[in-house]
Symmetry: C5
Subunit: 353 residues, 5 copies
């Protein structure tokens, strides 16, 4: 079971909109940072309370506020009140068991995505990343700090690139693009594993191979569950007529949409490959079994009549004329030889081996 399967029912009974962080991660020290940027200048500040945000909000500048960790319920409540965010949205940010989704509200848009991380070959983990897009401000919420968005942060801070000039919606795009691009890394890891299994499969399949294939299959089920809804999310964004997403940026979202389709296609073809490999495994196992059975059958079928014959001449009857004939023994060996040869020829003809 991957992480997301923990306690989705923990909140049951509480009134909807109660802000509690529902998730598996321990409440680590939450880091909130704010990047204020214009085309010319970009600066980063730590955020402690709502005033740190309000004081940096100025016409003509764009803010990107990153939450790494979700245990800042007070700050979040303040933000909710200050910027008129619906309680259910705040709840969805904290409850990290959401399905990817896109919601348009009067003065902001809300996007939930899942990031995939693939530390080991078969331990894909997913985390929730939520985006709140305002006209001049982007808030991103993640469960913990890692280096997924570091590249992007460097780009905003240090290079006078497109990202500085195109506003908060482009910044939202940039974050989502990073998330989706990261899916390809997971694809690559999976593919390597699939390829190495294919090698093993054709070389020397073992029960362990079967187990690994099953594990990948399960992994794909989980990943698909996380990625598939993204398709509709991105369609919804493209169809949205919100003022917050400018026409110029729409083109970029279409690009992410294409990438998402590609990831889904790839996952689907992996699933087909995996199913094919299961068939191949089954067939190899059953072929080997058949081969073993054939050897047994051939051995047994040849020796059964011979053993019967030697038994016959091991009987202790007083009146068995053959026992006294001079050439009985060598003749019997000849018979053994002929009998087994005939049987082997028959088996050969029947293509038993």
């Amino acid at each position: 079971m991957t992480e997301a399967f923990v306690n989705p029912s923990e909140k049951m009974g509480l009134p909807p909109g109660t802000l509690v962080h529902v998730g598996k991660l321990p409440a680590k020290a939450c880091r909130v940072t704010l990047i204020r940027y214009t085309a010319d200048l970009a600066e980063e500040f730590p955020v402690e309370n709502i005033d740190d945000i309000l004081s940096h909000r100025q016409p003509g500048t764009t803010l990107w506020i990153q939450f790494e960790g979700l245990d800042t319920v007070e700050l979040l409540t303040d933000i909710g009140l200050q910027f008129d965010i619906h309680p259910l949205v705040l709840e969805d940010i904290l409850n990290t068991h959401q399905r990817p989704k896109f919601e348009e509200h009067r003065n902001y848009c809300f996007v939930v995505l899942k990031t995939l991380a693939c530390r080991e070959a078969l331990a894909v983990q997913h985390e929730q990343i939520s985006l709140l897009l305002f006209e001049d401000m982007l808030l991103t919420f993640r469960e913990r700090a890692d280096n997924l968005l570091d590249n992007l942060r460097q780009r905003v801070l240090h290079s006078k690139s497109r990202i500085r000039t195109l506003g908060s919606d482009y910044m939202a795009y940039a974050v989502m693009d990073t998330v989706v691009d990261n899916y390809f890394t997971v694809c690559d890891t999976l593919e390597e594993t699939i390829e190495s299994i294919e090698m093993t499969l054709l070389d020397r399949p073992q029960p362990r191979t079967f187990a690994t294939i099953q594990l990948i299959k399960r992994e794909l089920i989980h990943i698909r569950k996380v990625i598939a809804p993204l398709r509709e999310v991105l369609l919804a964004i493209q169809r949205s007529d919100s003022d917050l997403i400018h026409e110029k940026t729409q083109l970029y979202f279409r690009d992410i949409f294409d990438h998402t389709l590609r990831v889904i296609d790839t996952m689907d073809s992996y699933r087909d490959l995996i199913n094919g490999m299961l068939d191949i495994y089954m067939s190899i196992v059953s072929n080997r079994m058949n081969e073993i059975m054939k050897v047994l059958t051939i051995f047994a079928t040849i020796f059964i009549p011979l053993t019967f014959l030697v038994g016959v001449y091991g009987m202790n009857f007083e009146y068995m004329p053959e026992l006294r004939w001079r050439w009985s023994y060598p003749v019997l060996w000849l018979l053994f030889f002929l009998l087994s040869t005939v049987l082997l020829i028959i088996f050969k003809k029947k293509r038993w081996w």
Copy 2:
């Protein structure tokens, strides 16, 4: 078979709209209670007849009338007449074999849901809950009294929360949210069972494991049948332009919609997991069988020629020169040893073990 499979045809032949309670539950004493609330005040009253309802209906207050048990046909008939409810709707309330659905009528909306209860691991039971939403009044109908809605009742009665101020449609939302949140509990129970089976499966699979997997699979079929139509119900509510559901509340229904999608996704991934586990079980069983067969084959194939040989020298021919040679017996043992070693090496090379 779960309960809902009983006698859906019991009513056949009666004119449509005849009010008969069709369901498995015995007609227990039906409890009807009424909660009248405003933002400031909330009171609960028992309801005996239609007048108990009419006397509490006042402008500015909202009523929540709970039916726990469905044997109050007279009261229901009176309500139907008083509030102009269509006979088919009344029939659907009493016949608890309905599919989840949403119907808009002139002066009220009608919603049918299923609650899931999961007393034991593999005995998920479902019950019908029907909602009649009027401008200033919500009626909920359940087959029996349990504590599912108690939390909600306490919230309305004792805390001055949002629920008191947002009208009957928000109250309908709150009821539906409780129902859907409860699905997650069932998910959790199922998941625990699935996980414990996975353990058993990898440790020591048994026919009983197989049976349990099949039982869960069947459970999932039933649950899906109950939950799947909910998707369309909630879509219909969101698309509805009824005056009874205010725009403010729509957002909350969208939230339930997301939850429902999540439950369905989870159920689907469970189904995939279960199917994977069936494959694994089959494969483990067949692997073990193969292992057994291999041992038999190796034993048999080695001893068959040896047994033939000892048979040969057990024959009673008078003229068998080997019988008289001094070293025949030790040489034969050597032969036995060599023969079996060679066969073992061949088998080893063919990777039979």
Copy 3:
């Protein structure tokens, strides 16, 4: 093969619209009856020719004309001419291999349904029932007389119920409701059979059990083929803006639609159950086989080396020192005992039983 699979190509080559009764049933004496009713009065008359119908048609009254049997080609031709019915519609009434469908014409609506009858457990039979709905008249056409619509007939004739006041479209609804309600009876029969098979399956599965499961599966294929198109038919009726179906009655058709969805859902869950049962059967059979093979293997594997050993000391070599030793025989028995015990312990450890 159920009945509907007979001779759909019989009519080939004839110009379309030629009236020939295509169906399996022998042309029994066809019974045509007419019920004329108003809110206050209802009378039944036999119908011989077109004049019997025309003479009873009066403003303010509604006619329900029942055809039980389809060999009245002349009467039907007259009706076609008199009421301006399209030749293809008449053809579809007589050719009972139609798919369920709904057609709006200028002055009438045409509905084709299938009734299911389930005389024995696994012999579900279907018949066609066609409805021609005029403003003041409903014609129903069935292949033979049975008691399916008797209840309805009694209701119209003897009780002053809603049915008398709501016009021909409500009567059409009443007929269709009876047909769909009857599907639930078939569901119940199937369910009983499925449950009894489940019992047998867990108790003592036999090849016959497998055959029965397959038969039910086939039955479900046929039933689904008959019922599935009904969904679209009822959707089409609901979307229809024909004047013939009054808004008031639409609600009732929505009710049938819900029932149909429920039947289809139920059939689908039966199919899933049946597939699960096939898996269980297969698994039980293969488990038993495995058990048998294990016993063989254990027996054989233990006795094969023992039998080899007794063969060794049955050899007739002159120089076999063991043969002369005093304790050879008891020592050998001890060896037999130890060897088999060791093998049994190994098998036990490997969990072979």
Copy 4:
């Protein structure tokens, strides 16, 4: 492989619209005939060149021009020029590997269908028939002459039926109706084969039975590929607002649409039946195998210990006290008898037979 699988890539590299007959059939003498008809009169003429057609085209008359064989490239080119037919359409007429389709052009409609012919039980062949529908003219193109349309031809020529009065679109309908009605013949043949296989299957299944089932399955795949697109074609015709298809005729096309749905439904239920039969076959084969294995196991398991015992008393030890006892031999026989009885009882209890 059925015929249609030949050389669809033959034309590659040629500019689109190049008129080459792509198909398997040898270029037989192509027969082109023209039927000119009004409500009162119908005459048939052979066609050699474009003038034969132009000279018969008169206001108030309808022409039906039949091409039986497709090697009249010149005539076709002339027709293309004269009646302003798009080169791609002409190409599609000659290249008989088209998918069924419907195309509306400015002055004509173009329909491609497939006819099915079923000379032997399992050799369904399909051919292309293309229709060009003009206001006063219908051209049909077939790969060879057979008697499929003869009936229709007779009807136009010799009976003053509806077909003479309803224009070229009705004639197109009549041709398409004949084609689709012919599908039912194929259905019947398939059904007979399926039924006869069912008999064999339950009586005495053989590898040949399996092969036949597989052949039918393949046949169904091919037929479905040919028929399935027809659904969309007929939907397109019904949705078309071309002036060439009059409202009156639309009703007839809806009728063909219904027939097509019925054929597809039937094919789908055949596929399900066939799959069920494959399962049954597999199960019967495996049941028989199990039975054989059981007999072997029972025989072996009973005799293995007995044979061991007789081996014991065949040993040549000098000191074996039993050998000298008076009643050893009969006691041993008694032991044999008891041992085998006990084993048989155990097997019986375990329900091995």
Copy 5:
């Protein structure tokens, strides 16, 4: 793994729109050529830099610029700036892991397709071909030079055909048509392989046959992944109301659409055939296994009791009366003969062979 599965994540971390060639092919010398044509004249020029293009652009002429190889990043950047192409489009041209797609931009259309090449039977390779369609100019981008478009190039250069007169959109059609027509070659190759496997399968199936079937199955998965999106691409082109695609050319795109549907249909029927062949293979293997097992069983079952009997008379008891009877030995042989005959008759009756 086919080529397209390499490094789709290579670009991760770079800002979107960075021009890097992502693909497996080594950067060979890239060849860029320009064909300028009018109805009367067509000339070909090599292209080195952006000026080579600009100088040939004249009113009334159409340009077709072919990129064979994608390492001309500078030239491409210049083109992007000059003709106002969106950076994401340029990126998609260079990153050859795109899904087939169609994008409309203000002044140009962008199409991505995949070409299939089938050098050996089971090594289908796909490459990306991108098209940029301007009012008077078509740019095609391919990963390497091969002869796929040579035919087309010859047609433009040397024959005064339709292609010279119909503008850049028709040229785009001609390129796409060549690509799609080429799919049929792949279909043919696959079909030949499928047919030859079918032969082998019915003649003498071997594990290698199974492997080949699995390989084709995998090939089909890959091809489908490449071709399936084309359907939507061509639908989008047909629905597009861009000025760049003239109504006259739309008809041609509909033709490609039909071809694509045909390829997809064919691929689907191949997949069904392949699955059927896998079933047949499995059944043949299991049939042969059964046959082998039957022979073993019959041999063993007949000889087991006989061998027991000879063992009995090999025992060395002093008091065994039969040993001394004169006719024991011949009577025993008679018994052997009778016993085996009876068993054979029983097996025959049970239809074991």
